[in-house]
């Protein structure tokens, strides 16, 4: 895994996410978008697709749930593993994400070390086999 895509409207979270990735493996590349619609457009235009997509739930214009629905309709993109990276710790959101085809659900942790550990585990997972992973 070497290319990661984060869709989140929160710039602080872009920063924390990137710092955590860098501390895990400096060779990882990370691209970001600030909502589902822009993210989808960026994916369609990109030459090299990411290996994994992290997406927030609450975003203006296109939410995480909407994105999960939309990406399923894109022939070129539907195979990409997408997971939720959100403040929500609600079981309902977790279930909903699973139903809509998400491969994992991470509740944004309250400390940096926990974020690092969760990301590390997600990046190690083999999504061709792995079951739904939930880190609430």
């Amino acid at each position: 895994m070497n290319k990661i895509f984060l869709i989140d409207d929160d710039e602080d979270d872009h920063f924390l996410f990137k710092v955590a990735l860098e501390s895990i493996n400096p060779a990882l590349r990370c691209e970001t978008a600030i909502n589902g619609k822009i993210g989808l457009q960026q994916l369609k235009n990109s030459d090299v697709l990411p290996d994994i997509i992290f997406i927030d739930l609450n975003m203006p214009i296109m939410s995480g749930f909407d994105f999960l629905l939309q990406i399923k309709k894109e022939e070129m993109l539907s195979h990409l593993p997408v997971g939720i990276f959100s403040t929500s710790s609600l079981m309902q959101d977790n279930e909903m994400a699973k139903e809509l085809g998400a491969r994992f659900f991470i509740t944004k942790p309250n400390d940096f070390e926990a974020l690092r550990k969760k990301l590390q585990q997600i990046l190690l997972a083999d999504f061709s086999k792995a079951e739904f992973i939930s880190f609430i």
């Binding site: 403040t87 710790s89 609600l90 309250n110 400390d111 940096f112 070390e113 974020l115």
Partner: protein
């Protein structure tokens, strides 16, 4: 009296008068106009009471003033009979019987008037069906508004909680990073202040989590046959660390199946058990038993904790009721309100009994699984 006697004896006698055709000069047109009109009036005055009685017998329970309908039916029927008599007189001059029928009609009319005067005040105070319809429309609108308001409140609580979490998480994460990357540089006093920021944020997070949980408990949940024991075991697993820290002992017997919602049940046990662990100055011993009584299942959770003063018992299910300072026992004061709401959603109830210094028992009453 003689006259009355004679009248009654000769009630059906026609001897004293000629038939009406021969009394005065009638043209055929005039006579038949009279007769046919009388017969038509009689026919309709006969059918109107039939319709009234039919209506009354079908709508009996939905109508007020049932007697009034009967008075009207009798009065109209008798009026009709007088018209029939009038037509009959053209051939059979039953003048005496006619007088008696008129008298009966007069009596019925007078009684109807008296009855109407009596019920008038009550009738005026009645709402007409149009007024009732308007009232119903008003109530439906009010109910809809209330539903909308409740939904908006839920959405608001959920949104507010989410949006409050965001900056809070940032405070915690960045304060944590600040401390981590500067541990060597900062004085111990500064590090302590950073800890205070982190602790305050953690307390706020607890509070928001609880409010979020409270607002997410819907009252219209789908209840299915559930094993409360599974939810209890899940709660115990979640509390493993605290149980080990406090060296607590939790005993439970087999619990009967109930009509419930597993996610909410786990939350319920989690809140009650964590209270039992928290409010105990020694080693907690918690006993959970269940029994079925008819279509109810009663689950009791007893502890040997510090107990609750009787004076505070009525208030403990209200939100934000804390009986202890933050320094002695942490908590948000929402836990038992969540329990109460979960039990309401289960169409059950929660009660509490406690002896200060000895312990507290919560009793949960559920509907048994069907």
């Amino acid at each position: 009296m003689e006259q009355v006697k004679e009248f009654l004896y000769g009630l059906f006698s026609t001897d004293s008068w000629p038939p009406r055709w021969h009394c005065g000069k009638w043209s055929d047109f005039h006579g038949w106009l009279y007769i046919i009109s009388d017969l038509l009036i009689w026919l309709s005055y006969f059918l109107i009471p039939v319709i009234i009685i039919n209506y009354l017998s079908k709508k009996k329970d939905a109508l007020k003033f049932n007697h009034t309908y009967l008075y009207f039916a009798a009065f109209i029927l008798l009026c009709g009979t007088t018209h029939f008599m009038d037509a009959l007189m053209f051939w059979v001059p039953l003048y005496r019987l006619n007088a008696l029928v008129k008298f009966a009609t007069a009596l019925a009319s007078i009684l109807t008037v008296i009855h109407l005067v009596k019920i008038l005040p009550a009738a005026f105070s009645q709402k007409t069906s149009i007024e009732l319809e308007q009232e119903i429309i008003r109530r439906i609108a009010a109910e809809r508004q209330l539903e909308n308001a409740n939904q908006r409140l839920e959405e608001f609580a959920s949104m507010a909680s989410h949006d409050l979490q965001e900056p809070l998480r940032k405070i915690t994460v960045f304060a944590g990073m600040l401390k981590e990357t500067n541990t060597a540089k900062f004085e111990s006093n500064t590090l302590l202040q950073i800890d205070k920021i982190t602790n305050a944020a953690a307390r706020m997070k607890l509070l928001i989590d609880d409010i979020l949980m409270l607002s997410s408990i819907q009252q219209e949940i789908i209840l299915t046959p559930a094993h409360p024991q599974l939810s209890l075991q899940r709660a115990i697993t979640d509390l493993e660390i605290k149980i080990a820290e406090k060296e607590a002992i939790i005993n439970y017997s087999a619990l009967p199946k109930i009509s419930g919602h597993e996610v909410y049940l786990t939350q319920l046990f989690l809140n009650i058990l964590s209270n039992a662990l928290k409010f105990n100055s020694g080693k907690p011993v918690i006993q959970i038993t269940g029994r079925q009584e008819g279509d109810r299942v009663i689950i009791q959770i007893s502890d040997n904790g510090i107990g609750i003063e009787t004076a505070y018992l009525p208030k403990i299910f209200e939100p934000f009721q804390r009986l202890h300072s933050k320094a002695s026992y942490e908590g948000t004061g929402i836990g038992l309100t969540i329990c109460k709401n979960v039990m309401d959603a289960h169409k059950g109830k929660i009660t509490v009994a406690s002896t200060p210094g000895e312990g507290t028992t919560f009793e949960l009453t559920f509907l048994a699984a069907k």
